[in-house]
């Protein structure tokens, strides 16, 4: 059932950045490696709510077909960043470009029509519609018929409806939802609902898929299952994915690069095995602390990672620990940001 990724080489301490203190400017590979063109460019984005700075000078880009993860403690600004990407929040400064489109200032619906799809941390399904109808909504921006054509069931509306449903069937099969296509979403278990959300996002035929903590609230088995689905569809459809996730095991298993946010600022952007041992990252998750403690935890994380290796089938202990640490550290902070609190 579950897709197994090839375990990446065990990370080594030597790859860790030399400077442990937080740099004023983000370091690491915020630019994608040469070769593949970037599909998403985020430049110097700052977002404030009243007096609270949610994002501060965030810059990075994502290459075509990349699996990109964003991590950070609670309240770091991850979901805010996602909300900027799909137009739900409008940053005070900075630019976001998707291919040739400038996204800042556009309505979410418009951005969606340019191929940005998204899932939500807490389920955001249409509970009183069937699985199929939920997925067909994903094709909304690909369809044209209006209310009058629909009312009279005229040529285009009818053809479009059939076409839309036909196009959704492979997606339902891909996500294993085809046997329950006619079921009301309200009646489905949580894990299945997550899949529906994924299928719905895929129905948008996205160029860029944003996943907001896709495995939040899931147990290890469910996490693995969903990770499998995500890997499958990404491979099958050749998607570019940007994912927010607390589950370090999942991140290190699937992500090619990790952007670490803290207090709305980028503190590093590296492959996961590098980022997770970065003392700045550890410090961010601990919410401060002296150097000795940071060293100690970083060492533990590295040891655990080396011992178990990322990408193990079960929930990764190191990731789990880091996740818990993140939770504990984050809880003490003034979160002040919507949707971040679990």
């Amino acid at each position: 059932m579950t897709e197994q990724t090839t375990p990446t080489a065990a990370p080594s301490l030597t790859e860790a950045p030399a400077t442990p203190a937080r740099d004023p400017a983000p370091t690491g590979r915020t630019q994608p490696p040469a070769g593949r063109p970037p599909i998403l460019r985020v430049r110097d984005v700052s977002l404030r709510f009243g007096g609270v700075t949610a994002l501060n000078g965030v810059t990075f880009s994502v290459e075509d077909g990349e699996f990109f993860a964003i991590i950070g403690p609670n309240g770091a600004g991850k979901t805010s960043l996602l909300n900027v990407l799909n137009g739900f929040y409008r940053p005070q400064s900075g630019s976001v470009e998707l291919g040739e489109h400038a996204l800042v200032g556009q309505r979410p619906a418009r951005i969606a029509s340019w191929g940005v799809a998204r899932t939500f941390q807490n389920l955001a399904l249409f509970e009183d519609l069937t699985v199929l109808e939920n997925v067909v909504v994903g094709r909304h921006h690909l369809m044209r018929s209006g209310v009058i054509a629909g009312a009279f069931w005229w040529g285009r509306a009818r053809a479009e409806e059939r076409e839309a449903r036909r196009a959704c069937v492979p997606l339902l099969e891909l996500t294993g939802l085809d046997p329950i296509a006619g079921a009301l979403v309200r009646d489905l278990p949580y894990g299945v609902k997550k899949r529906v959300e994924l299928a719905r996002a895929l129905a948008m035929q996205p160029r860029l898929l944003l996943l907001d903590e896709p495995v939040a609230g899931m147990n290890a088995a469910e996490t693995d299952e969903l990770a499998g689905w995500v890997q499958t569809v990404r491979r099958e459809l050749g998607l570019t994915v940007v994912m927010i996730e607390h589950d370090m095991a999942l991140v290190s298993k699937v992500a090619e690069r990790v952007l670490v946010l803290d207090f709305g600022e980028v503190i590093c952007c590296e492959p996961p095995e590098v980022a997770m041992r970065d003392p700045r990252v550890v410090r961010a998750y601990l919410g401060g602390g002296d150097d000795a403690l940071v060293e100690e935890v970083a060492g533990q994380v590295a040891d655990l990672a080396a011992e178990r290796g990322p990408g193990a089938g079960e929930r990764d202990q190191a990731g789990g620990e880091a996740g818990k640490a993140a939770g504990a550290a984050g809880a003490g902070r003034a979160a002040g940001e919507n949707g971040e609190a679990r």
Partner: protein
Amino acid sequence: MTENLQILVGGIASGCLLALIALGFVVVTKSTGVLNLAQGGFVVLGCYLTYEGRQSWGLPFWLAVVVAAILTALIAAIIEATVVHPVALRGLYPPILVTFGISIVIPAVAAGIWTTYQLTLDDPWGLDKVGVAGLTIAQRDIAVIVVTLVVLALFLAFFRFSRLGLAMQAAASDPEAALAQGISDRVIHMTAWAMAGALGAVAGALLATTGGGGVRPGLETQALIALPVIILGGLTSPAGAVVGGLLVGVAQQFAVVRVPDVLGSGFHEVAPYLLMLLVLLVRPQGLFGSAEVRRI
């Protein structure tokens, strides 16, 4: 000038009555999230129970009002516990419609018990008046204003100082916060309805004084007039209900005499709604309401 002041005082008195009814709406909406269409029913119960207290039990006016308020509060709490609570959390519509059903039943029951003849409460003020700085003010109007102030003070004290009041405030922003204090939402909802019942009853008794037109059927519709008030002030703001009530009361009185004929007949009836729409254009959450944050 005197004329304007005179109209202003009249507007304040009728605004206070609106505020009392609106407070009944607000306390329920704030604490339980339900828009209570049965508030007009409490107005009806209040005036007829006061009448009953006066005529059948021979109580003095004030005592009759207090007894009526307590009885109405009890009835309201029982209604909440038996029929409203089971649906209170089932979306927006079922609770509104349940209260609509109740709003149909109460006046019909009252008509069956007390007939539809016009009755008199024999209140202590009658048509008495006092002269203040060149103005003449009806004693009943002064009573209305004083009662509103007292009720408002009691209201604020309850929310500020009592454990239940604090829990209700907490519950308004986060239902679990109240539970954490060991007070169940059942108690909070019943208390809110009891308060709404008492507020409606007091307003009903004051409405049914001689100066207000006497005890008569159809008083439940007075609650409809308070609807723009609660939106104007902000659905969950007691202060908004009072300010909104005063604004509407005063605006309506001036609309009666200060509006040119070109605006057509019946203008002062829609004036509260126009005022409400005007405020909403600027502040969609009302004067004192807090803006709703959209969450993902």
